[in-house]
Amino acid sequence: MKKFIAFVKKESIHILRDYRTLIIIFGMPVIQIMLFGFAITNELNYAKIGILDNLKNMNSQKLVSKILSTGFFDLQTYFNSYSEIEPEFKQGKIKAAVIIGANSDGLVSENIKPNIHLILDSSEPNTANLILSYLSGIVGDFNAMSFSKSENYHNIFAETKMRYNPELKSSYMFVPGLMAVILMLVSALMTSISITKEKELGTMEILLVSPLKPLQIVLGKVIPYIILSFINSIIILVLGKFVFEVPVYGNLFLLLGECCLFIITALSLGIMISSATSSQMTAMMIALVALMMPTILLSGFIFPIDNMPYALQILTNIIPAKWFIIIIKNIMLKGAGLEFIWKETLILIGMTMFFIFISVIKFKDRLQL
């Protein structure tokens, strides 16, 4: 036992000595939370548009000022001719153009009544649709008010209620996801590098001739990272709660317990990777490509799984982070207890056993070099 503790101490000193990596391990979650919380959002706050007014009469002026008075649209350019429009799109200066009046070159209309043409830059479809829905709502209402007698226009208003997240805070989505990504990063990536580094530098053989058993070596390497990851998950939860008001409606101990489970899953993955190679660079690349990229992109962290093609949705089932995100979202946002998430928890436990099993098999021959 004393040998084991001495070994854990050695590993901890190694880690603490490397202050650059340490800053990144603790700094990265904080910076990412700040970025995701304050900077990254899909909500459209304003859109730059251009207007070409071919009529220049009182009605068209009223329409223009109605559009601009919403505060959502920022008038970037007031066009004088149709040909000025395309370059502005190409240079990315405007997201939409509003053309008021009878047809100009290229836009055909047989109707003699004044027409309004909306040109949208559809490179980013959601932005285009959001702009379209606001603009056509404004134009539609304006039309009806000005041109038909008001007794005849039946206006239907919609009142929207946003459930579970009334302020549409994106933090509800990303804080759980961020926990999964950071835990996976620290546990799997760092463990795999740490073990592979010893192999690459040759110090693994020195460890093997020491009185420590191979199992103790692996455990000793893994324990400091368990502690680091756990501290990280607490940091993320605390920041989430106090800076972004992400609630924890469920049982805190259940939450922390599931975090520990996921940490062990990630660690066993890291060990499995390190058993496959002796080169640090290869270990890092495998960890990044086969682990981080899928975790970030396919776990439901940024891109909702429901929107993916069916084949990919099936693929996402093998990614541990996906199940973990479901678990913590349910605990934090809906206050679910174990009875709602036992299925996902069991899947994570199963995956962990599988990874450990493979590692044990591969390690027995590798370490015995």
Binding site: M28, L35, S133, E151
Partner: protein, 373 residues
């Protein structure tokens, strides 16, 4: 000149000697491009919705069938039980509840205005925003195409002297999200490979010890750096080409701009990025640190540059930060070239800025790299 050439040959040999590197450089991007382009989408579709209709009049049924007929919404069911509907939402069976109040038709006839309710599952805030926009669009469509007797016309040109509103989707008529995401993923791939390879190369030499041998050789500082940069540049450009071919073949991604424009922009951009990698490797002592530092900066750059989420939606301080990241200029230019056919004259400013970045970062890397270290 001969010395630079010698360093280039050495670098190429070292990269390809590592059996693990080759599949990683060539197979990984392929897989990523294919899988990620399919996964990366913010498109919202198949929104399952439930209708709670307390009025049950012709017009309320008309409204519900309009939503039902929309390609965005999937009808789940309807009843007059709001609690049942809310429960369905709690269980994640539906995302949208349409509520039409009692006496809807009567009130609309008498007072000329009435309200209906949209209840949306907002755990995913941005999806909720999109659902709201769709629901609102359908409602607008409905009410402007309705005449005094509540007959709904499906004619596009409006009635009662109203103006018609026509809309045109430029550059992406089918609203395929892949057109937006593929350039982004391409850019990420090229940047990751470039930055990692250049950062790791010096760090590995430091860690194994061969840096000392390099330091006592007659190779000058700048010759070493140029010699290390060029192979990575060539590999990155190869990645870009490979990626574009795959994107065109598999996803039909358009390429409406000039090839020379794209490549010259990429070269200038890459010089800045690769020098940044070298700068990182002068700070790091081990490969692990180099990798972590590169990873850290990559994540920050990718998030802030507007690849996945638009820069316009960010608060002012973030938008200012974005101006200091070469990646943000590059990704918007690549999108403009590929999707909108932007030409050289449309991006003179971008060229100037990227050149500036390249010069500053490369000088910093050359200055920081001391042969005596």
């Amino acid at each position: 000149m001969k010395k630079i050439y010698a360093v280039i040959i050495k670098e190429f040999k070292q990269i390809f000697r590592d059996k693990g590197m080759l599949p990683l450089i060539f197979v990984m991007p392929l897989i990523q491009l294919i899988i990620l382009t399919n996964a990366a989408t913010f498109e919202v579709k198949n929104i399952s919705f439930y209708a709670v209709d307390y009025d049950n009049s012709p017009i309320s049924r008309e409204i519900i069938s309009k939503y039902n007929g929309s390609p965005y919404f999937d009808f789940y069911g309807s009843s007059t039980n709001i609690n049942y509907a809310e429960n369905l939402m709690r269980l994640n069976k539906i995302k949208f509840i349409l509520v039409i109040p009692d006496r809807f038709e009567k009130n609309l006839t008498i007072e000329n205005k009435e309200r209906i309710q949209f209840i949306i599952n907002a755990i995913d805030g941005s999806t909720a925003g999109v659902i709201n926009a769709y629901a609102f669009s359908i409602l607008t469509d409905f009410k402007t195409n309705m005449d005094n007797n509540f007959n709904v016309k499906s004619n596009l040109y409006g009635i009662n002297g109203q103006s018609a509103v026509n809309h045109y989707n430029w550059y992406n008529e089918t609203q395929d999200y892949k057109f937006y995401m593929t350039p982004g993923i391409l850019v990420i791939l090229v940047t990751i490979i470039g930055m990692f390879l250049s950062a790791m190369s010096l760090a590995k030499e430091k860690e194994i010890g061969t840096i000392e041998q390099l330091n006592v050789s007659p190779v000058l500082k700048y010759e070493l750096i140029i010699g290390k940069l060029i192979p990575v540049l060539i590999i990155s450009l190869f990645e870009l080409t490979f990626g574009i071919i795959v994107a065109k073949l598999f996803f039909g991604t358009p390429f409406r701009g000039g090839v020379i424009n794209l490549y010259s922009l990429t070269v200038i951009y890459l010089i800045g990025v690769l020098s940044f990698g070298i700068l990182i490797s002068t700070i790091a002592e081990t490969q692990q640190q180099a990798m972590f530092l590169s990873w850290f900066f990559m994540v920050v750059f990718i998030l802030l540059s507007g690849i996945f989420t638009a820069v316009e939606n960010m608060p002012l301080w973030a938008q200012t930060l974005t101006k200091f990241i070469p990646l943000s200029y590059y990704i918007s230019s690549v999108r403009n070239i590929l999707l909108k056919g932007a030409g050289f004259s449309d991006m003179l400013g971008t060229y100037a800025i990227l050149c500036g970045f390249g010069i500053i970062i490369t000088s910093a890397a050359v200055l920081k790299f001391k042969k005596t270290a």
